[in-house]
């Protein structure tokens, strides 16, 4: 006989929120990555405790589900193992948006150069606000640009 809650369990699994699903996947990915490195490099948890300056009990916690990995603890692990455990992927869409913003910025620069050379009154300088160029306020630069 199988579980009397089988259908209920299936229903629950189908309704787990996306953030929990992702959290669980990443957690197991991390466990697998660390385990693989330890195995490949023939490192024990005791060795890892020495190289990270942690108590063995703390290292044991890291791998037994009693530790909520922070970026700091992941970096400590990466340094101790001499490998990269996680990578951050920049999404294509975000990349494209960034490139578009940079291209707008360059266009404005080029128009300003044309104006200073009296090529034509293409842009009203009163409507252009100049900001220091950095990624944080690029959006506000492009929002304030009006091309005649």
């Amino acid at each position: 006989m199988s579980s009397i809650f089988e259908k209920e369990i299936e229903y629950r699994l189908n309704n787990i929120s996306e953030d929990i699903k992702r959290y669980s996947e990443l957690y197991f990915d991390l466990l697998d990555a660390v385990h693989q490195e330890l195995k490949q490099q023939n490192i024990t948890q005791a060795d890892l405790a020495k190289s990270t300056g942690k108590y063995p009990s703390e290292i044991h916690k890291w791998f037994s589900g009693d530790h909520n990995f922070t970026l700091k603890s992941i970096i400590k692990l990466e340094l101790a193992l001499g490998c990269q455990l996680i990578t951050i992927a920049i999404k294509e869409k975000a990349k494209a948006s960034l490139e578009q913003t940079i291209s707008k910025q360059e266009k404005v620069k080029s128009l300003n150069v044309e104006k200073s050379l009296n090529v034509g009154s293409v842009i009203d300088s009163n409507e252009v606000k100049i900001f220091p160029i950095n990624f944080i306020n690029m959006k506000s630069v492009s929002d304030n640009i009006k091309i005649a």
Binding site: I20, F28, H35, G65
Partner: protein
Amino acid sequence: MNSFVLEKWIVRRKVTFFSVTLSEDELSLADQFYRFCESNLVSQDFGLLLKNLLVEVGDSRGANAHYFREEYDLISALPNSKLKSNFPVRWICMRLDYDSIVLFDGGLKLSKKNSGSPDLDSKYQRAIKMAKAIEAIMLDKDDNRIEWNTLSIVQTLSINVPIKINY
């Protein structure tokens, strides 16, 4: 002498989960623990526990040894990958192989040592006895109820008749 029945609990793509039902109970220990979690854990934590056990281990990755924290000889608990600092649930299990796990019940771990959580500790002690009985019967080649097969336990345990075991 106490006895229990070992039978399939849930079959997932990579792992078959077994559980045991004590002679005096109606529900298997895994079902009892499921009911316990349902009423004692917040939905998010319970969802995570099920996702870890049944999807990540059961469907995607298999019962790799490094996912389990050894508590006692033969007996483990699956990592919880807790979301909050306070997620002290332990689901007691016996990892038979890459594709087979026996789930017992579990409980809340209220202190650093299991002995500080009397309810959980007594469940561990009972699970140890049952795990030893299961191991003994698997290793007993003369016993025609279960035959130990190192290639795949699932093949040998995938019988539909529950197995009564004394412990």
